[in-house]
């Protein structure tokens, strides 16, 4: 059986710009999304939603709709009383948690609030029937702005809590009083991170199929967290968890908006159980705008104390978080991430933060790419620039002065984190070199002489990634992987993360291919189906590779140990090496391939001592810490005085995400992240009017960044591997978003600084800039 045939030398795939395995099916339109699923007997659901921000429901008349041919059933709030509310996974002391029923009871709390569901034999009938349901409302005064909601006499979102305050939260570290007492200078600013609409390319969608005889439910849903959905939907509906199968088929993006359990997932399951047919519900874009979570929604009041040499002594913030009307899965936890991120990359050990979580008559906010960290980074990086301007210091110099020094890692922060490793000056220096900073400042001085408004904006940022150690997360922060070497020697990897655009089918193939010394094409990565894959946590918080990839690494180590046992038995020697997909006897040079070993392991004619047949290994890995990537972005801009138009002259993004497994994918993450960060800085805003109507309720008014609006992104890296996981990777999914908005605003503020401008809130629309140029408040 053993041969001396030389198997081709394995060429490492890690570090190569491999094209994504996922792309052919996406590009050719052959991927299967929830909307593509068809089943015999399938019915179609439409949700009747509140057109009001706040109203009492006086009556619901479903008779006309029920009489329409093809309508199978209609359900309203009274039908779902036995179903537990939409879960909030975050716990904070004193948190007020409204009962979030999957259909409104006697009152609606936001435009889009589900009031009834109609199910019919086709979606057109369902849509017409939804229109035929008459809901009589007694409209109430809504409140849509968090600061207005806190004002005395504001309408109460939830009548039982007239102050509209869901929670307050205080955290401090060091001695903030002393820091402010010793300060030479204190700078203050109100900084808004406006509400954003995550806008995944694929809206949400659900197909629920109840199998009465087996008392089992199959739920297809466009989600980032199929296992969490399974656990929580089983709880909500009172079904045994082992009889619930959740499948996340192809998922067209999430950006955090699908890191959730939504009313419709439970509602469609309930409907399928009631009518005994599979039920499909696909969210329209309008519904996506109104009812899928929004991101950000902060009004922050910052104070920074410093010495006149620029040394930052302490940071204070009062953070007002617009929660919306309910808590979705992580709603109240998101601003606490902002607080954790508050020290940024700086040495100051004195901080104080107060969060006020405010109910408004709007759709809930929750995790959106960066989830609390972009807001904090935006605030702190703006404040550092404001401090530099106050002290007439160069913004690069003040950052270099305050960075945590390389020898100080691991660095315990004022917020209780331990930063793993860092070289914060490195990406900043690289970015400064890339733009030729000294020359650029001269060019700027020249431009100013000519009356032109040119700006240079620097942002240096840190992140909290690889979420995370289990004690620091609401649902467990470990991740799982299974490696199955099939009898043919082909390899199936099952990962508990549920990628939805991140490319882990490719990067995880690379990890497995290099560990096993086989071709990337010999590996298939499966995910997103709870009936196939062992329990996992999911994809969010820049964790998939840094936690899930590490779990895979350890599963591969276990399988290699087992491969070597079989190899030793077959080669009749203990002195063997495993490499390039084969076990080789170190003395004779005789080798045996993984294919032959797999065959023998499953045929099991003979087994090594204390060894089971088969070649499967599963590993659940608990990370010892978060990872803390960092980087520097620089944006060069010019403002046209006459119109307020901002043109981006250069955009440089230098990221340190540790080791880079696939530079093509990492570049893509940075590019997409920068696009979303610039989207917030320049264009995007979810605007509610005083009645709780979403003014930017369509893509015709909500400005998504598009390719032609993007600058050329000059991206690069420094590499500081993390010791937290064996791959040395830190996560890169959110970096671009976190770095971009402060770089952009710092750049435009720098451009307008000769006019005395010190801060601009986002989005920096041309009209706002034009007014500032003309010496008026925006």
């Amino acid at each position: 059986m053993a041969t001396t045939t030389i198997i081709k030398k394995h060429e490492p795939s890690i570090g190569k710009r491999l094209r994504r395995k996922e792309d052919p099916r996406l590009i050719t339109g052959t991927a299967t999304y929830v909307e593509d699923l068809q089943m015999p007997g399938m019915h179609y659901a439409m949700v009747v939603r509140s057109p009001h921000g706040a109203a009492n429901i006086k009556s619901i008349d479903t008779s006309a709709a029920a009489a329409m041919p093809g309508v199978a059933a209609i359900f309203t709030g009274k039908d779902i009383l036995h179903i537990a509310g939409v879960p909030c996974g975050a716990s904070l002391p004193g948190l007020r948690v409204p009962d979030h029923k999957i259909l409104a009871q006697d009152r609606v709390y936001f435009v889009g609030h589900p009031v009834a569901v109609v199910v019919a034999t086709d979606k057109y009938v369902a849509r017409d029937a939804a229109d035929a349901i008459e809901v009589d409302y007694d409209v109430l005064q809504a409140v849509a702005d968090p600061e207005k909601a806190l004002a005395p006499g504001a309408p109460a979102v939830h009548p039982q809590w007239p102050d509209n305050t869901a929670f307050t939260f205080h955290q401090e570290g060091g001695d903030i009083e002393k820091a402010f007492k010793e300060a030479d200078v204190i700078v203050k600013e109100r900084i808004v991170s406006q509400r954003l609409i995550p806008s995944a390319m694929e809206p949400r969608g659900v197909v629920a199929s109840w199998h009465a005889a087996e008392k089992s439910l199959t739920l297809y849903t466009s989600t980032q967290v199929p296992h969490l959905v399974r656990t929580l939907i089983a709880q909500m509906l009172g079904i045994d968890e082992n009889r619930v199968r959740v499948v996340a088929p192809e998922v067209g993006g999430g950006f955090g908006s699908k890191l959730n359990v939504y009313a419709e997932e439970a509602l469609m399951s309930f409907v399928s159980m009631k009518i005994g047919k599979p039920v499909k519900w696909i969210e329209s874009r309008r519904e996506n705008f109104l009812t899928t979570i929004h991101g950000r929604g902060h009004v922050d009041y910052y104070e920074v104390a410093a010495k006149k040499d620029g040394t930052i002594l302490g940071i204070k913030v009062k953070l007002i978080q617009d929660l919306g009307s309910y808590h979705q899965l992580l709603t109240p936890a998101i601003p606490t991430l902002s607080v954790l991120m508050l020290p940024g990359l700086y040495r100051s050990k004195n901080m104080s933060a107060d969060i006020i979580g405010v109910f408004t008559n709007c759709v809930p906010t929750d995790a959106y790419r960066g989830a609390g960290r972009p807001e904090a980074t935006h605030g702190i990086e703006r404040m550092v620039d404001i401090l530099a301007a106050e002290l007439k210091m160069d913004p690069a110099e003040i950052r270099l002065k305050n960075f945590i020094r390389n020898e100080e890692f691991p660095f315990p922060t004022a917020t209780g984190l331990i930063y793993d490793t860092g070289d914060y000056a490195a990406p900043l220096r690289k970015a400064l070199e890339t733009v030729n900073y000294t020359e650029l400042r001269k060019e700027q001085a020249e431009a100013r002489k000519q009356g032109r408004l040119m700006g240079i904006g620097i942002c240096t940022y840190g992140e909290i990634c690889a979420m995370g150690p289990s004690p620091a997360t609401p649902a467990g922060g470990w991740e799982s992987a299974t490696v199955k070497i099939e009898p043919s020697g082909k390899v199936t990897v099952m990962t508990g993360v549920s990628p939805h655009g991140q490319g882990e089918e490719t990067t995880f193939s690379q990890i497995a291919a290099d560990a096993l010394g086989i071709d990337v094409e010999d590996i298939l990565v499966q995910h997103g189906d709870t009936a196939i894959v062992q329990y996992g946590i999911g994809t969010f918080g820049s964790r998939a590779t840094a936690v899930g990839g590490a779990a895979l690494h350890f599963a591969l180590q276990e399988i290699i140990t087992k491969i070597k046992k079989f190899g030793a038995m077959l080669l009749e020697t203990e002195d063997i090496t495993y490499s390039d997909g084969q076990c080789t006897c170190n003395k004779t040079g005789k080798s045996i391939s993984i294919k032959e070993i797999a065959g023998a392991a499953y045929r099991a004619m003979k087994l090594p001592a204390n060894t089971e047949p088969g070649l499967v290994a599963t590993y659940f890995w608990e990370p010892p810490n978060f990872t803390f990537p960092f980087g520097a972005h620089i944006m060069v801009s010019e403002v046209e005085k006459e119109t307020g138009n901002i043109s981006i002259k250069r955009y440089v993004a230098i990221d340190d995400c540790g080791n880079v497994l696939n530079p093509l994918i990492v570049d893509g993450q940075v590019h997409g992240g920068v696009a979303q960060g610039l989207g917030q800085a320049l264009w995007e805003q979810a605007v509610y009017d005083d009645n709780g109507q979403l003014v930017t309720g369509e893509f015709t008014d909500y400005t998504m960044p598009r390719a032609h609006m993007m600058p050329w992104i000059e991206s690069g890296h420094t590499v500081t591997p993390t010791p937290v996981n064996p791959l040395g990777v830190k996560g890169v999914g959110e970096a671009g978003t976190i770095g971009a908005s402060p770089a952009a605003v710092n750049s435009v503020v720098d451009a307008l600084s000769p006019l005395g401008v010190r801060h601009i809130d986002m989005p920096m629309t041309p009209e706002k800039i034009w007014k500032l140029v003309n010496g008026r408040n925006a």
Partner: protein
């Protein structure tokens, strides 16, 4: 995003289509506005008659000193037509600013003109070109000037049962320079303001100026005060600025999330200046 149920017909001839329209069917010509409105259930016609498939209305013809553009000619065909580019470049340039590639491949001249969105691009050019709109109904044809055709927001002088059959624009005389300047509403791509300019010079003076404005007010219009200010001048920068300052005269400017009335008016003046300058640059 599902419309009410409706019947759809794609007649083979204009006469057949007109008969259906006379019977109350809603004309569809590209569907770039009507279809989204139907999907949002803001419009709910029982019957839709699709004109865009009428090949007999898809043409650009030169007849004497005029170009005739059939109602179902898509924007891309106007933008890329050699005849339009050389004989009436303002129209081709304006067509190139409409929406995006997909929209320019679906939307039609007649559909856009008949819909009369206050932020649409074509009306600015057609006002400046003093275009004629040929309307046809079951009872025959009539011709209306652009100034009379565009009445108010989404309102034209089309009578019940009538459709736009074609648009007639002049073949530009030698020495005419034209330009269209547009500020895009960043989300929708419609015009926050759009300024279409035609100028001709003779003997060192501007002998003719026509300026059409869209997006600023409830309906497109000709900025006659600005035109008059420009005519007879040498077209110096000061002349241009003086004329551009009058471009919003008499207009009641729109205000929305993307541009207040004040800013919109300012943009109209800035871009009128730019469009006049660009047009003058092409008179040589």
């Amino acid at each position: 995003m599902i419309p009410h149920q409706f019947d759809y017909a794609a007649p083979k001839s204009l006469d057949e289509a007109l008969k259906a329209i006379a019977d109350g069917a809603k004309p569809l010509s590209g569907g770039m506005s009507l279809v989204p409105m139907m999907k949002l259930r803001l419009a709910a016609p029982d019957r839709v008659v699709d004109l865009a498939r009428l090949k007999e209305l898809s043409y650009v013809r030169e007849e004497g000193s005029a170009l005739h553009v059939g109602a179902t000619t898509i924007h891309y065909d106007v933008e890329s037509s050699a005849a339009v580019k050389s004989k009436c470049p303002l129209l081709a340039e304006t067509a190139g600013f409409i929406g995006d590639v997909q929209i320019r491949n679906m939307g039609t001249m007649g559909g856009s003109v008949a819909h009369n969105d206050p932020s649409a691009d074509y009306p600015a050019a057609l006002q400046a070109l003093e275009a004629k709109i040929v309307l046809k109904g079951a009872n025959g044809e009539r011709t209306v000037s652009a100034a009379d055709f565009f009445v108010d927001t989404f309102t034209t002088s089309l009578e019940e049962g009538e459709i736009v059959r074609e648009v007639v624009v002049p073949v530009e005389a030698a020495g005419t320079g034209t330009s269209y300047a547009k500020v895009l509403q960043p989300a929708s791509g419609f015009a926050i303001v759009g300024i279409a300019v035609r100028v001709r010079k003779s003997g060192g003076k501007i002998s003719m100026a026509r300026i059409g404005v869209t997006g600023l007010a409830n309906c497109s219009y000709r900025a006659t005060a600005a035109e008059k200010a420009l005519e007879g001048t040498a077209g110096s920068d000061a002349d241009i600025q003086a004329a551009a300052a009058l471009v919003a005269q008499g207009a009641d400017a729109n205000s929305d999330l993307h541009a207040s009335a004040e800013y919109r008016t300012h943009l109209a003046k800035v871009h009128a200046g730019r469009a006049i300058k660009a047009a003058l640059g092409k008179t040589a």
